[in-house]
Amino acid sequence: MSRDYLSIFLSFLLKFSIFSVLFVFFGITLFIFIKGIIYISPSLFEWEYNSTNVSLMPALINTINMVIFSLAIAMPLGIFGAIYLNEYSKKDSKILNLIRVTSDTLVGIPSIVYGLFGYLAFVIYFGFKTSFIAGVLTLSIMILPLILRSSEEALKSVPIGYKEASLALGASKLRTIFAIILPSATAGILAGVILSIGRIVGESAALLYTSGSVAQIAGAMDSGRTLSVHMYAISSEGLHINEAYSTAMVLIVIVFFMNFISNFIAKKILKDR
């Protein structure tokens, strides 16, 4: 079949587009990685931050704490909520729809709006001041829909036979849920959780006015910056560009790692089925 000019042109357009996407991706990541590796130094990992070492360690520890505590709040809420939606509510009930609509809305809200809400609600109204805990609460609400939705999908994909068999053997509904359904859905729930870890690690706008940007390892009521906020602070000051490259690299490595794990788990589920 001889190809006409239009087809050749269209084919060129397609290849050009995908090439530019790949070029952008590899351009950004390689650039940050190469520069980041050049400027990485032991002083970046000292326990205390000061203006000469620009250590990212306090921020890294805050980030890890932020992840742990946000998940501790959002995971039970999200998973229990998903159990309700799957096991207890009637199909197409009004509440079910309302929860769908609201969790969709929560997903679409820009993070700076979460930041202002967190500021108004937790920092001012509940009087937590600019503190780690205000940041944790804000982020918990932000990742809640992600965990709720992925848990819902995971629970839905548990074969109905498991549940029926358990009930037929005389197990109570609650026991069936905790002993049979939840364990079989673990991998799917985990994939969503890991994805939300990536979200927390990358988040900065929602934290600026809730947990603040003090460069110290924060207690519950102290202000403390996470790695992303740290990245924003040092790159907008413009004094420590070299350290900014290394920090960006560390940030990307963490986020990519989280993505790989969550993809790996998701793929494993597909294979098992």
Partner: protein
Amino acid sequence: MIKERIFQGLFALSAGFSIFAVGAIAIFLFFNAFATISQIGFLEFIFGMDWYPDEEIFGIFPMIIGSIYVTALAIALGVPIGVLSAVYLAYFCPKRLKGIIMPAIELLGAIPSVVYGFFGLVIVVPLVANIFGGVSGKSILAASLILAIMVLPTIILVSKAAIETLPKSYYEGALALGATPERAVFFAIVPAAKSGILASVILGVGRAIGEAMAVIMVAGNQVQIPHSLSDGVRTLTTNIVLEMGYAANLHKDVLIANAVVLFVFILIINISFSALKGDKK
């Protein structure tokens, strides 16, 4: 039995929490904003051209225009590349290559926005400064370029899903009629996937208009209605981040009202997205 009841209650409470959260967000923000906007005057606030917080003159029109310009340009740059890439991935990509490209696109979506901002600051901004000459480079163009990259993964993944749900017979039918594979895809598949592709564009608009941290680092942030691509610009999101740190009293309330305007934009975008999704069923 009582344990069953307690847990059922617990499950129901957890499920209801997202309703409660949306309610709380709406109450906290809107309650504050209504009072503030009525104090300033709706028209003066939305259409006011001047922003002098020290003199209590609050007009956010330049920021609204700024947000619209930056988003529109980002979409104009990102959508063609994104949709064409989705088409390529769905119909023309060898399987092996797909194994490399798909993870790359997912990772592109996972890069934190401050890293995009930093990349823009060290690469795109100097580039724009060089091209235009005599400008700082922090500009609409720089912000749109970064945002265009940031919306790519959303557009590609959603468009690809929309294209792949179409029956293969459309494509085969076109081929049988003698069309080349490219013509078959562009004249039979893409028009049929129109609503799905449009949905991806709307999601992209939502992402672009809500982005703050990357834009703040590359947009220059001057309060003005820009006249050229190399002019600095301030958006609705960056206005909040820039001034919230030191704002007090009315100024602070105004920034909250600013966030509500942004929220309303997002709600409109979300509603049109779900309307589109609803159409398809």
